[in-house]
Chain length 378, copies 2
């Protein structure tokens, strides 16, 4: 029975650190003898540890999925719209876990942390990691937390890919799998956009082969361009038209390279804001993880074969104007699940907001997520 | 009656130079006291000068629309598929004119040519020009060639915008207007892509505020990124998928920043090939001309008002998978023409090739163009 209680904020939340002493051999062949994952949890783990949900973050996300870090914190975690007491992912019922992925730049072991010697920054020497590697590291965290099976693994975009990979690699360790605004792999066009973003960073003279920190430099230009480009692919053509149209930034045309149209100004602002809060090596690594993701690859290229092993139930969500991962891409996963005889629910949410819709508080979307999770026995 | 003769190549063609002594006041307010346009002509102007067609080029095009410059020339002009004896734009019937636009980098006055003192390169001091400025300069060329009325003005993409502007600014000076894969103005998303390309160039340290030539430098990185990004928008998602899919470039994944997938390698190749053949200041200027184009602006924002003055007949062509200028954008022009009571024919060509389709020898497309032009009395 749906609850009608008022959704509330989680208030102040605190990150914790998991220090894994278990070695992790990565898809690239390198082994991390030890590593750390920064994570947050919301809600209480119940006595049988049956109410845990793992939330996986997307490209520029982090472990900070909901709540605030301090009273003066202006912006809550990236999925605050969905996570909290009385919200779709109800922390009165579930114990929610979210970690900063390996290779991230928010505290987990990655390019911005030190190598085992404790002195040398990883920088560009940090190995490229894959979605499979992340899932393996999240499994270590799961064991550390005393969780034997996730009630659900959930995520949007690159986060949805991790949820999908969980269902393939650890089929018995999750009861539900929630994949939002995602895809079974990247298209050539997706890879192409990533490659332009990477080249923007790699060719920035201040990139210094990825060792910019030790050189006292920052490849701001490259990271800014990458983020500007990313933003175009997150928003729909319609949403950009609605928001900016051809509105001028200044009183009249100036015939110079200042921002003539508001959309130029917006993009520059987004690019500049990102620089200084995100690490260029991590950005590169995240785009590579996206490119490499392809769970069907180990199963003769047939996604249904990969999914035949899974015992979870699935919820898939797509958004009408998402042109980064179109609804058709979600439907590929849905069709593979049907072919594999799995239990799957699917909704396509009507939204003008493009790929970014997965982060928004859209009633039909949140209502579906809420209804689906309410039906999970814990 | 359709002719069934075999289409032939124009063979060797030669550029000519028009030196205008007539001053040209630009939309930005600056005046060019004199300027040069490099142009090519194919076919013969008839006695009454009634068979002239002006072809307008797109972003990276030039005056070299068809034929070859030498016996050893490997690639013909950019619209060789359409222009030649027996081709859709039949040079046995028409006198075809195509000039390198003002601000271009193929010989016409622009950033790569000298200022009136004959010594100083224009570089970044060359003013930003608009589609309206181009049309005015093309009108000067028209007078120079002794042409009182074009049988047709035609172009694809940015070239189609010039054709549309001709019909608004010089409504009595063209009998037909052929607008292919174009749009009545750029959307916010179109402007956004242009802005990323521009920032790639403007923030390249070797750009030197646009005076890279005099500094002995070249902003290759920026121009390469701009071209890579452009290429993604010229091709359709489907065409990229068809051509590259997720095919690996090397024998296996290497987990490095070398090109893992073929599409990465292709994009880098396209970017590198462009650098050295095109000028960065011209690239900037072309993207600005695209942004500024908005013929409705002078007519209360209503395109039909602008077109009510025109006396030409129109042919509009769009391509199904063109997501840079979608068929809907062509239909906006068609609808404005209908509202203005103008004579308009329109076809949407089924093609997997995205925006680039306008350059290709697609039978239905070329057949329509041929049929339309065959019906023009000269």
């Amino acid at each position: 029975m749906p609850t009608n209680k008022q959704p509330r904020s989680l208030g102040i939340v605190q990150p914790q650190t998991f220090k894994s002493q278990q070695a992790l051999t990565l898809d690239c062949g390198q082994t991390l003898e030890s590593y750390e994952l920064v994570y947050e949890t919301y809600g209480e783990l119940n006595a049988t540890a049956s109410n845990a949900i793992l939330i996986c973050h997307a490209l520029s996300g982090s472990h900070h999925a909901a709540g605030y870090h301090s009273e003066s914190d202006k912006r809550p975690g990236w999925w605050n719209a969905a996570i909290g007491p009385g919200k779709a992912i109800d922390t009165d019922k579930f114990f929610v876990v979210c970690c900063n992925n390996l290779g991230g730049c928010d505290g987990s072991t990655g390019p911005t942390t030190h190598q085992p010697d404790g002195e040398t920054l990883w920088g560009a020497d940090f190995p490229l990691v894959t979605v499979r590697d992340w899932v393996r590291s999240q499994h270590h965290l799961m064991l550390h937390l005393g969780i034997e099976q996730w009630a659900a693994v959930a995520g949007g975009s690159l986060g949805g890919m991790q949820a999908l990979q969980w269902s393939v690699d650890f089929p018995d360790l999750l009861r539900h799998c929630v994949i939002i605004a995602s895809a079974p792999n990247l298209t050539a066009q997706n890879i192409a956009f990533n490659e332009v973003a990477r080249q923007a960073i790699l060719t920035d003279p201040e990139f210094c082969d990825g060792h910019y920190v030790r050189e006292g430099k920052v490849p701001n230009r490259g990271l800014m361009l990458a983020r500007m480009l990313g933003h175009i692919t997150y928003l729909s053509n319609d949403a950009m038209g609605e928001k900016f149209g051809r509105h001028l930034q200044r009183d009249k045309l100036h015939y110079d390279f200042g921002p003539e149209y508001q959309v130029e100004s917006y993009l520059r602002y987004q690019g500049e804001k990102f620089v200084g809060t995100f690490d260029a090596n991590t950005y590169l690594l995240m785009t590579k993880a996206l490119d490499y993701f392809d769970p069907a690859r180990d199963y003769g290229g047939t996604l249904a074969e990969a999914l035949r092993r899974s015992t979870a139930k699935f919820l898939l969500v797509s958004f009408t104007t998402d042109w980064r991962f179109q609804p058709e891409r979600s439907e590929e996963i849905v069709n593979a699940l049907i072919e594999a005889g799995r239990d799957v629910s699917y909704i396509e949410v009507d939204s003008p907001n493009g790929h970014d819709a997965f982060l928004l508080d859209i009633p039909y979307y949140m209502g579906t997520l809420r209804a689906y999770l309410e039906n999970i026995d814990v």
